[in-house]
Symmetry: C2
Subunit: 252 residues, 2 copies
């Protein structure tokens, strides 16, 4: 009996026509049946936002044996949720992949990222989920070194699913990728975050500050040393160390 | 020398005129100088979303010795970011509190919550931050049992700041609060998340499913047993257990 092809749901936050999602889908098609459900416009910085006040719809863009493409008028998380409720109601995808984002989602950027948001939503639904991002912002991404790594990771996770509740946040440096580094999120923040727009309005801008540039076990360090960073992330935010301290302190 | 009053930044996702933020500010004023910077409209479900395409502005609503109120045309995270860049540029707040949300932010709800998003942003900026939510959805909240607990928690955290990188997610049951329970996030999800709006559009709805209703150490269990739940949350999402397994497996 021929084994059925795995189903791979692809989304992103840059929109269904972006170069990153196109290149990601070309790689993913080597591993299964690809369904793209991605925003119909730019949805960067949407984090895990959901839409509750506007009716959501998915619009069929193209359909073939190997790949179906829908656009959706929602956030990246909406794309995952609505597709699970509609086209995947009977048979869920084997893998959710998000990206390839135009711009890094390392360290604190993961907090605000719609690319990561979509992968978190896949993980909430107990589907293995990976977010891919490149530090490049260009409309056309040079992913010569990244694509073979992505292909291998898709293959690996399809054969050995991720632990429930854990997703992968993968970032690629510009140009050569010397190696893949498993690492933790760097402790970072943005400063001077706005620029004046007019007398009393501001546009988001800002500078990125890594609070621990010397720490060699972080994603920021890996990226600045021509390595791809792979950070396993938890959906569960609980701080178990501090929880134990609180329980001990208050005797509960 | 008289000690300066602590500065408390209050925000939420239900808007600056909501009953929850009004009641929270009344309690907070007993402990310091309160500045409200909150959305000018409903921003529920915005998670940690940031606005980068629209100019943001803060509008002064009222000002007195004890309390200043601004509305802002952004998300809850925008409110925290923009206020830190403008009114708090010289002197940062001692505490960020978010809420009191009309609706629970326990378990997986924390992922999507703008109330939690604002507290995460405070924490990213190394300011002690607490999110408060009630399971009640009503326009007017009955918080007779919750407000004394909130007052005590504000006092405690002002005297002993939270660890850097950790915030508190506090939820209150309806009516009586038998005790305060320190707990972890329950593993939960939403199902059947939409209802038809017209032939091809959907509105968010859904049912909440606790995957572990018997687990007594979760926030859901506490809330269903008339306890207030306090979950310490980490900004750092790294799954250190799985990271160590990956490093071991790949010898890196």
């Amino acid at each position: 009996m021929k084994k059925e092809k795995p189903i791979i749901l692809i989304t992103n936050d840059d929109g269904y026509q972006s170069d990153g999602i196109t290149k990601l889908s070309e790689v993913a098609r080597q591993h299964g049946k690809v369904v793209i459900v991605a925003p119909d416009c730019q949805q960067s910085g949407k984090s895990c936002a959901i839409t509750h006040s506007v009716p959501l719809k998915m619009t069929l863009v193209s359909e073939s044996e190997e790949m179906t493409v829908y656009s959706c008028n929602g956030t990246p998380v909406d794309c995952v949720k609505l597709s699970l409720y509609t086209i995947f109601k009977e048979k869920r995808p084997d893998l959710v992949i998000s990206g390839i984002n135009h711009g890094s989602n390392s360290s604190v950027n993961a907090v605000y990222s719609g690319t990561i948001g979509a992968a978190i939503e896949g993980c909430v639904n107990n589907i293995s989920s990976i977010a891919f991002s490149s530090v490049q912002f260009a409309a056309k991404l040079d992913l010569e070194h990244a694509l073979p790594i992505i292909s291998q990771m898709i293959s690996d996770v399809l054969s050995t699913p991720l632990p429930l509740g854990t997703l992968l946040n993968v970032n690629f440096p510009e140009g050569e990728v010397k190696e893949i580094r498993f690492c933790r999120e760097a402790n970072a923040r943005w400063s001077e975050e706005y620029m004046p727009y007019d007398a009393d309005a501001y546009l988001l801008a800002g500078e990125f500050h890594n609070r621990e540039p010397e720490a060699e076990d972080t994603d920021e360090w890996a990226l600045s040393h021509h390595m791809a960073s792979v950070v396993p992330m938890l959906v569960d935010h609980t701080d178990y160390n501090y929880l134990n301290k609180l329980k001990y302190k208050y005797g509960k």
